[in-house]
Assembly symmetry: C2
Homo-oligomer: 197 residues x 2
């Protein structure tokens, strides 16, 4: 549909007009990506579980110790929160640029800059989500070779919430990849109705 409309050299064809028919798809995808990454960042940032363990028993009195699992204890989860927050901000900013941008686009570099920024955000988000996923896998299964015991059997709620945040982040990553592909394609569509001399 979109490319058909773009190929016809119509009368009032400005550069921006070529991407008109699909103009609601990208903002909607950006909103979805924003909600996915924002919820991932929030869920992980608020992830905290306090648990009391019985360490020893003296006579009949149990000796208790209270341990807390926080996302701040693992560098990979801190990176995860930062990166998801940045991706959310990027989505909001690009939404604003989508609506306000056409008025202030001076030298026609807007689409190029958006595509490159999208690409950089894909890289960031992919790094954060992967690092958190592998760290979560270590927490869930442990690593017998390094003698690292699993901790998800003790902090089950912490692990469940973290897993949910990772799923949201990977959904956001997939959406951001699609968005980047659309952004790159826009750069091409921009010139769909121009003539090579």
């Amino acid at each position: 549909m979109a490319s058909e409309a773009g190929e016809k050299p119509e009368s009032g064809s400005k550069l921006v007009m070529a991407t008109k028919p699909q103009s609601w798809v990208l903002p909607m995808l950006r909103l979805l990506a924003f909600s996915a990454t924002a919820s991932a960042a929030l869920v992980m940032a608020l992830n905290k579980q306090t648990k009391t363990f019985v360490v020893a028993t003296i006579g009949n009195t149990p000796l208790k110790a209270t341990l807390t699992a926080k996302f701040q204890h693992t560098p990979a989860f801190v990176f995860f929160v930062i990166v998801n927050g940045m991706a959310s901000l990027h989505s909001l900013l690009m939404l604003a640029v989508d609506f306000i941008g056409p008025k202030y686009d001076i030298i026609g570099l807007r689409f190029l800059v958006i595509a490159i920024l999208d690409m950089l955000n894909v890289a960031l988000l992919s790094g954060g989500a992967s690092a958190a996923a592998f760290m979560g896998q270590l927490g869930k299964n442990g690593n017998s070779h390094a003698r690292w015991n699993k901790i998800c059997d003790k902090f089950d709620t912490f692990c469940d919430h973290g897993g949910g945040a990772m799923i949201a982040s990977f959904i956001g990553l997939a959406l951001l990849m699609i968005i980047t592909a659309i952004s790159i394609n826009k750069l091409k569509n921009q010139f769909n109705n121009c003539v090579v001399p």
Copy 2:
């Protein structure tokens, strides 16, 4: 320089000609990225350290145990090797496309496909390198909250080689990001000497 040359609507201007002056930069960057990711994959894949520890002493006879640190023991490092291998293959393939592509480019989608593939490879490589980096940080410093002890004090050579592989991988990632930005820009330059009706 390149964009100046592209803006002049010269006589024999084919679409492909617009990117001529910089045509040696991209293959060179791709070769560099290939060597960085390939060496990262190789160094990590061949990373193995066997060490004999004295576990106990019975009388005067020391009781020894031999432990081996391999990259296969950590899922993040396996992912790292796979992803770096894939990025190397991608670089080689794109080098081939750069040289052979112009002859077989039927519907003009070559630059679009290359840019999107580059973007996907950035995402993959970023995920692999970040996951390995955070796992390496855990091996180097441990995590007292989860009671995971550091292992780099015992397997120093293993950790040094792994760190080298990660540095190579991050250099490859930076190169691949620059390459992707150039690929995206090519999509725009392709139309530099065309006229909007």
